[in-house]
Amino acid sequence: MMKRVRAAAVFATAALLTLPVPATAQRAAAAPWQENPYPSTYRAPTPEDQLLRGATILDGAGKRIDGGDVLVRAGKIVAVGKGLVNPGVREVDARGRWVTPGVIDVHSHDGTFVRPLSDPDREASDVSDLSSANVADTWIETAVNSQDTSFDRALSNGVTTMQILPGSTPIFAGRSVVVKPIRASTVWGMKVTGNTQGFKMACGENPKSWGAESENDGPTSRQGVIAYMRQGFINARAYKLSLEKARLGTGEAPPRDLKLETLAGILAGDIRVHLHCYRANDIAGALALAKEFGFRIAAIHHATEAYKIPALMREAGTCAAVWADWWGFKMEAQDAIRAEAPMLERAGVCVMMHSDSPADGQRLNIAAAKAAGAGRRIGIDIPPEQMIRWITSNPARLLGLDKHVGILAPGYEADLVLWSASPFSIYAEPDLVMIGGAVAWDRTKPRGEPVSDFELGRKGAK
């Protein structure tokens, strides 16, 4: 492929101007893929200490407490249990209501697949860069419009953390960003820190269909897509080796290549792969490829046939980020079933709900309820305290945020939702959404807060 040839040529003819640096100094320096040119400017809002009293608590770690209390102070969860002593903070009567960790969506395109989607967005979409099947050098955050109306809707429905991924047209689609859906002038004002850097890859119909279009230079088949990945990682392995040699002072440092160094970061285990894949054979092929190159695919996204190969998923330590009920719209989605999440859960596979949609991303709790309902049809009963993990602690772990969010336990950031009813009921409304111990959404406040710049002054819904 053209772009690969170009990369190889640069590699071969590079002007090696880099001066030798002492090995000790090099060792101290971060690897090039660990550089963060776009640091977060997120400032936690002023926390409001609260004691939520008498709620049904699903703690996200698998425990349910009926009539339980949650104490939030200075942005953190301080205590979870029954009959907590109020140290003198605002007390919220949560009897009859439910408290869960904030919902985490690991698959969003908000800010790039914007609402409304107008012709300019359709013709030259920011969802993914399509200059090549390999756009591993791209960072989706440099495209995200923080004024997309979708962020507010997600927040008001209990979402407190979301990963924005590039689209699935390129094979190496670029880096993801994890954000809080709060009002900010730029995406960096929403950007989460402390997570593991994510990276999007894609297999199957999307990349091959793009490659098959005459003007594009990607592979045109499933086998071509896997071969393209393999060559990419072979090149990255060589590149990584050169970097290591240079670091040890036994070789020249290669010229910087943003694509190769990102893939090298995957091989180093510093960057996590989120792979868009539907069919069992596509998933199995990709898992074999990861094994060959000694890295773990963090999650298969969509994974509509993962239920056919649970042992492969489990042994690879790869999670499945799934829908409840998307199916049928393309050939590789024919065999999607609603009972997939409960089936994978029972098989011991790490599973979670994901959205891929600003509409369904508002209701991952309902997606979990639908999946569990389908599980009951085949005799798999998943209780609420286990279902909640599909939208809280499992996604937190996938993002590398499992020491920070996704669980209601002392020391965790106070990202939580106070629901008017069981979060698995369609009638449940998030009464209160807290991010970092601050109230980010309060249903008792008048409509219209917050409102994006886009909606401001337009005769919109608000």
Binding site: R115, S118, K308, L312, D325, R338, A359, R377, Y427, G460
Partner: protein, 422 residues
Amino acid sequence: MRKLAIMLALATTAPVSAQTIVVTHAEAWTMDSAEPVRDATIVIESGRIVSVTAGGEVPGGATVIDARGKPVTPGFVNGATQLGLIEVRSASETSDESSADDRNAGFSPARALNGNSTLVSLARADGLTRALVYPSPSRQPVFSGEPVMARLREGADILDRGDLAVYATIGGGAWTKLGSRAQQWTVLRNALTEAKRAAASDVTQGPAKGRGSGGPPPARGRRPGENPIRGVIAGDIPLAIQTHRESDILQAIALTSDFKIRVVIVGGAEAWRVADALAAAKIGVVLDPQANLPFTFDQLGARQDSAAILARAGVPVAIGLVGGSIHMNYNAGLALREGAGIAVANGLPWFDGLRAVTVNPLAIWGRGGGTLAPGSDADLVVWDGDPLEPSTNALAVVIEGKQVSTRSRQDLLAERYKDTRP
């Protein structure tokens, strides 16, 4: 008496032949009142509801479905889908939703309906018994064709009734051939004016040969929606307009007084802004209650309480189009229930939510029914919980007096792989 234990839908066996079906111990939502008949015995004979009686007797020889106190409702009706016309969206050879015939915009998708579609059996398993099926835009702006009602009985033939309306689509970018929506409205008005003139001349001169509803079609096919649009002028069928923006809704309202016709709005993201005017014009709205994001500039006003606002103003509201292209056909039953649940969560009274998926869509599309009143069509569903909760399963589905299968291809796949160990 043959007693069928109602367990999960998968375990239910359908009776071989069932002239008389009786549902016992039902929480029966007949739709006569906002309260159910408790411990109801529902007697079904020859495809009709005979009676719904609290603690009623079970006639001998009947097939019995014991509802065990669970809710029983009329079969659910989706107010706007393309069910039976689409199989795999990305595979054009499996799609029959639009006519590409330049000569003829009058297009009924009736002959394309496929009851063997995997989408249909799944929707049936989700408690959907009927669905309005509308065609996509034709090559004759602003018309799509004539929607049909599908009835999700078993077998290939799921046509309930065709030619229910004339279906038009109007909005920003809807017709590149016409450009501005102003021109789209002009084309629609011209077609109505012409049909009105033709109808008037029929009254004075009798129907033109070959042009009346009884005669053969003209040699080159009828002109854009010609015969059906005369049905609109005659008041036999409504003009359905899929449109969203407030300014367009106002244009649609104006048609009712200018042409004395019945209009149905499909979509109607901003219909809530003119709820009172819609009520006064007796315009029903088929909407997607989950839509709260503007997919286009026409939908800036989309909000989830629009069903509640419209119903409060007296506008008949039915639910359809729920979840857009991802769900409206692929989950025509489940998404419908989820949509109704969202409407209720946002202020629509629960019973009105139930009406919006039973009585209202059938009334808006001119079919009537959707109740469990004696004499009505026996389409009903036994649920294992609140049917507006998407986690609820349909335990038994009866269509035209016959218990139908609630097993879908998804069930078969789940059963095949549920104990898989590899």
